[in-house]
Symmetry: C2
Subunit: 232 residues, 2 copies
Amino acid sequence: MTTSRRDRQRQQTLAEIRAAARRLLTTKGPEAVTINAVAREVGMSGPALYHYFAGHEELVGAVTADFYRELTEEMEAARDAHDTPTLRLLAICRALRRWATSHPAEFRWIFASRIAPPHRQPDSQWYLAGQRFGGVFLGQIAELWRTRPFPVPDDLDESLREQLRKYAATLGDQLPPEALHVVMKCWIRLYGLVCMEVLNQLDYAYSDLEPVFEECLRELLPLLGLEYVNPG
Amino acid sequence: MTTSRRDRQRQQTLAEIRAAARRLLTTKGPEAVTINAVAREVGMSGPALYHYFAGHEELVGAVTADFYRELTEEMEAARDAHDTPTLRLLAICRALRRWATSHPAEFRWIFASRIAPPHRQPDSQWYLAGQRFGGVFLGQIAELWRTRPFPVPDDLDESLREQLRKYAATLGDQLPPEALHVVMKCWIRLYGLVCMEVLNQLDYAYSDLEPVFEECLRELLPLLGLEYVNPG
DNA sequence: GACTCTCCTTAATGGCTCTAGGTGAATCTA
DNA sequence: TAGATTCACCTAGAGCCATTAAGGAGAGTC
């Protein structure tokens, strides 16, 4: 833990650069986040940034990791403000949507980073951040499964079971494939809906998707043996 | 209908340019579709392309429209190969997924074009193409509604009803808000799942999403009063 | 044969990423 | 405290990109 003067300087500059990148993203859009523009924003010349980030991609990666962290922490904080399984799970889901809709540019950025599979290595920053993000939802359901198992299908498709068995293994086999299948069905509907909303795929029909989201929760909770509770 | 020799030449060149753009997209990724690269591909120098497209954005728009058209026609053709409402609807859904998964780059391109709302004008190329695309699914359900109405909720959220009433009006009020709500719930789950799949949001858990998609259909059809039928 | 229109060229502007080489100041070492 | 080292930054420049401007070659038309 060497926090020399220089080290602290460097950390501060790094933070300033990431903040500038985020400011550019939210005010001028994703294509405005260029090495040159960010450098100008913090008052240095383009190439100077290469002393802090190896290139554009690494800068983008660092900012993405920030967003992931922020979103994940928000979900965890929302969860920790409650103590029953139902309320904790609902808090996680609503925090996800709240952060996504109040930070659309950042959420789009996160989403886009998962589209291209450039660093599919299981030890990359992005991969880990994504795992941790999804893990909040999954962890809460795993706990639910331990304390109060929910009903699972007994006729799961063979190919599906095999795929989910592999995935369950990467999660330490906390859940059997059948339970993981229920979790994934819920997650796909939940995360899918939030993505559709924030990525403007439903604008033509809706102006406010909160009731749609709440109805989705109302349909999902019974699948986990829980009872829906109104927000607020 | 003036198809002079020159005119035909021009049309052919236009087609060649769009084909080159598509080739670049699928082989080298979306960021490789630059004016210069496309021009090189068809054997002319950069600025020459401006005789065919006003700029990069217009080229992108034209290519996007091609993809939309191709996808839409595929869905229509699949539909027209069957004659019962159930089979027609299933054919549409499966054709959507088939095209998306077999043309991932093109589907991502389409999806991305809907994220940024640059041309929200209701007469823009993209908007119309998007309407027509969604209209295949929606039209099939509208016909279903006419011939064999499906059950709808009688306690629809007030804000939701109002939003859907407006949307229904833009569709010529073929469906009441309550029915439209059911349609949208189905569409969101279906389209959402296909997007998640093609945009690599589920890679960490699944390698083959066909069984998930079929299960989704199996769950959705009863909501429309129809009975699921296996593919093939 | 002259005129026009289309298609294409090169040149130039100004943005971008990123590399290379250099400068001055802070820091470490003896 | 003097010299070596490291660090943070600079300018210059190569090679992309989009786009505009200016002009030339050739086909179609009068």
